[in-house]
Symmetry: C2
Subunit: 532 residues, 2 copies
């Protein structure tokens, strides 16, 4: 066997006995014309505003199983019912719609929730202040957004600490520059140095000022949701928002089967203004849902479908996104676990159920219980994210930056995850099958036992043929050692610091900026400081 050498690597797995490693230095290359001969700079891909999926959905569960899960969800809604607490107005809305309301327990006849969800748009656009960043949500579109909610942050040099507003603003500026994050979310990390009662104003303003991607609004209290919508009206115009979604809220049900007023008030504020609401049952199996995965999926469907029905009673046609967040637990400690096969399966199945219901789906994302951006973090995040992407989720929150079961935002994790999101985008774009892809001409130029390194077909295609992962080091070990033997976390640290150095604020109309600032100032004067 005479193995072909490729930069000195023996190109056969069964004859790797010499250990010669690949080298990008030109010594062995001779005078062949070759893509390798060109010095290349790292380039930032110009990414599309969102993913337009070109590959089939993976139909994990058969018809019989899907019907069983849907039947179970209907059974839960009709027989067990959901609690709607602390919001008498929500109960009035249910009563007017003909629901069976007993105290705070709400039950619907079989099929009613599903029927009500029909008026929710199966697809819609969220408009960004930069129209090139508008995202389409639903159908075969997929939108990636960063982690949401952690009170802590961690970076390689600064260690783990409570998130501050300075961290938050830096994270917004980094997300703005990551091409595979299509949406900037909201609470990339909690700015814990700001009063809880006011920080939503600073967060929403920062997304509007330092980014031009679509983002979410606050939901933790009704007036905070209203502030978010009011600020969006300044930025986008009140009339425009009557017909266009420019901001959304993301709420969790209190599983099992409890919906509190955070959810129903957010529905009234956001959907009442014809803006979007994402409703996510947040189920750790064995705690907030049964320990068996099928039952927890059915419960998630019941809870989200019920709130979806409620949004359509508030305003028929308002955008509603069905969410799923299903996790498992460690038998050793009872701690929540992430990226495990049960949640992988749930991502695939809930995708099927959402398509049958005809509403967009939110899943998350690059999830892990790891404290560091290490191998555990990457394995768990990859399995979680790939299954979410394959499952067809239309809006993927927590797609980058999540550590510690969601308690901590990792600066390095954020840019490493985002780098992988580019790979998922390429996978979702499918396999070209045209004449150029089949390359018959290349075989006229390259004989058997030859090589394609410099052939015309390679030269014509190599710049676009393969995904270029910025943070993957594919150099040989000698070169990698010469460059400091940096692991992925170290390279990621350098990358996000460079992004902050390179950051340029996207232009914002000065009058609107001043109006936004005045709104924030006025509201901060009105609201007392509070830390809850």
């Amino acid at each position: 066997m005479g193995p072909l050498l490729y930069f000195g690597v023996v190109l056969s797995e069964t004859s790797m006995v010499t250990g010669r490693s690949n080298s990008a230095s030109g010594g062995r290359r001779g005078g062949r014309r070759s893509p390798r001969g060109r010095a290349r700079e790292r380039k930032v891909t110009t990414a599309p505003a969102y993913v337009k999926r070109q590959i089939p959905f993976y139909e994990f569960l058969g018809e019989e199983g899907l019907v069983k899960l849907e039947d179970q969800a209907e059974w839960l809604i009709q027989e067990v019912g959901l609690e709607f607490r602390d919001d008498p107005k929500a109960l009035d809305i249910w009563k007017k719609a003909g629901a069976d309301v007993n105290g705070t327990r709400v039950r619907l006849d079989r099929g009613m929730a599903r029927e009500l969800c029909r008026s929710a748009p199966s697809e819609f656009s969220q408009v960004a202040r930069n129209p090139a960043r508008n995202v389409h949500i639903g159908g075969t579109s997929q939108v990636f957004a960063p982690v949401y909610g952690p009170p802590f942050v961690r970076d390689l040099e600064g260690g783990r600490r409570y998130g501050s507003y300075a961290d938050f603003e830096n994270l917004v500026k980094i997300v703005q520059q990551l091409p595979s994050l299509h949406h900037s979310g909201l609470v990339i990390a909690e700015p814990c140095d700001l009063p809880v009662s006011k920080r939503h104003l600073d967060m929403v303003y920062a997304h509007m000022k330092y980014g031009d991607k679509p983002h979410l609004g606050a939901i933790t209290e009704k007036s905070r949701a209203q502030d978010s919508v009011d600020m969006a009206r300044i930025l986008h115009g009140a009339n425009f928002m009557e017909d266009n979604c420019v901001i959304m809220g993301n709420v969790n049900t209190n599983s099992p089967l409890l919906v509190d007023r955070v959810v129903t008030e957010a529905a009234q504020v956001y959907c009442g203004a014809n803006q979007g609401l994402i409703v996510v049952p947040f189920i750790l199996g064995g705690a907030m849902g049964p320990v068996t995965t099928a039952a927890s999926i059915a419960q998630a469907l019941a809870e989200a479908m019920m709130v979806g029905a409620f949004t359509q009673l508030v305003r028929p046609g308002a955008p509603f996104i069905l969410g799923n967040f299903l996790s498992s637990m460690s038998l050793r400690t009872g701690a929540p676990t992430f990226g495990m096969p049960e949640s992988v399966i749930s991502n695939l199945v809930i995708g099927q159920l959402a398509r049958r219901l005809g509403v967009p789906l939110r899943c998350g994302g690059s999830l892990t219980a790891s404290k560091l951006p290490d191998a555990q973090a990457a394995f768990e995040s990859a399995d979680s994210m790939l299954s979410t992407a394959l499952g067809g989720a239309n809006f993927i929150l927590h797609a980058a930056g999540w550590l510690e079961g969601g308690l901590c935002t990792g600066f390095e994790k954020l840019v490493i995850d985002a780098d992988r999101l580019g790979a998922y985008q390429v996978m979702l774009s499918g396999l070209p099958m045209d004449d150029n892809a089949l390359a018959r001409d290349a075989y006229a130029e390259v004989e058997p036992a030859g090589h394609f390194l410099g052939c015309a077909h390679t030269m014509a295609n190599y710049e676009t043929a393969y995904y270029e992962a910025l943070l993957s080091d594919s150099n040989n070990v000698e070169q990698w050692e010469e460059e400091g033997s940096k692991d992925t976390a170290r390279r990621a640290y350098e990358h996000w610091n460079q992004l902050l150095k390179d950051y340029q604020a996207p232009p914002l109309d000065q009058a609107k900026d001043e109006e936004l600032q005045a709104y924030v100032t006025k509201r901060k004067e009105q609201i007392p400081d509070a830390w809850y």
Copy 2:
């Protein structure tokens, strides 16, 4: 909103403002009966001998695309042809079969290769010396095997170095104890301190002595293949092997479109003895195949199908496994890249093509270009491995331990990958949908807004509900810090060292052992030392 506390974690992604972290200490738990109350030891799962897949195949490419790729493969075989070099006997076999042989170029009429492959079994068993370890290859079975071929090894304390026989024997002993590796492969790392001309004897003996899982034999030279088969005859009996596959060879074509005598001789030795041959086109796109993925997949199909046809001319009915190894390259350096979306797609598509051809498929595995078992390694390996598993590959080589594009075996990487393989096994086993899984009884016990932590359904199911990843740390950050803030690599280092301490050799018939040792001794006397 009154979020449920779970070990003190605020269980809502939108209200994670307190940063209280989960704790396994009992302080908050009170007297509830709960799975968390039981102290648990880490337990090694008793894993099945191989994966019996229960989930659908993912049909990535539509009929039209598959037909195009098959047509292209037939075109390559008929019009371009393959080179069969350095083995006149192989050319004689082709001539007798009616092939168009011109010098060393062999062309077949359209459909002939596919037709010849029909006599290869679509499914077969490889028998291990421990019958409980027999694996089934083909259909819906999936078998995971470790990395094959690296000349280097790396571990956390010992660093990177040439592999030695001591390393090799340790790796065999570790693989023997990893429940999700069903097969022990062969060259887990090259024992570079042994002469190339003799090391196959030590490697095959070590697999037979220190493990009882099925394994491969040598292929690098005809007499080494023959030694492997002869040693298998000592272990399993010559008569038994006439009807049963107990050993296989794994060979690479020399892409593009070149088959050398390593391959044809291995086919004559292994298939001639009714043993299995795995044939893998090893294509780095842009070098050994066109830079467009569709063309490289078609070329891989043509090459493997042609050698598959050859194996059936050698002995109709001999086990043949169609292999695929398709990689991409970095635009920055030209270096091979792994785990990228193009190879993810190729794993899914080749699975469809192999099923249409009716032969088992080999893919690999947990691949990466990273030098360390870090986030890059895990992301690339996860995407590669998950797509391989979803694609339905029946034999997955390199499923654990691969670093540096296959130049280095990582001790930590081996056990981390193997831990994840357990998760893929669970995913492949599907979603139970029986009454217990739907858990309607649990809702009689647990009211809305309650919790399932101690309910009867949870107690009855929690021990088997979720995959338990040994090397994932899901503890809270304080506990993790108390235990030394170990990253995944450090925990993996401790794990494989513990496995070596715990190792016990599986019993081997003493007479057979002596006969094997005598064979090795005799052959070492006959063969001169050589280092190539």
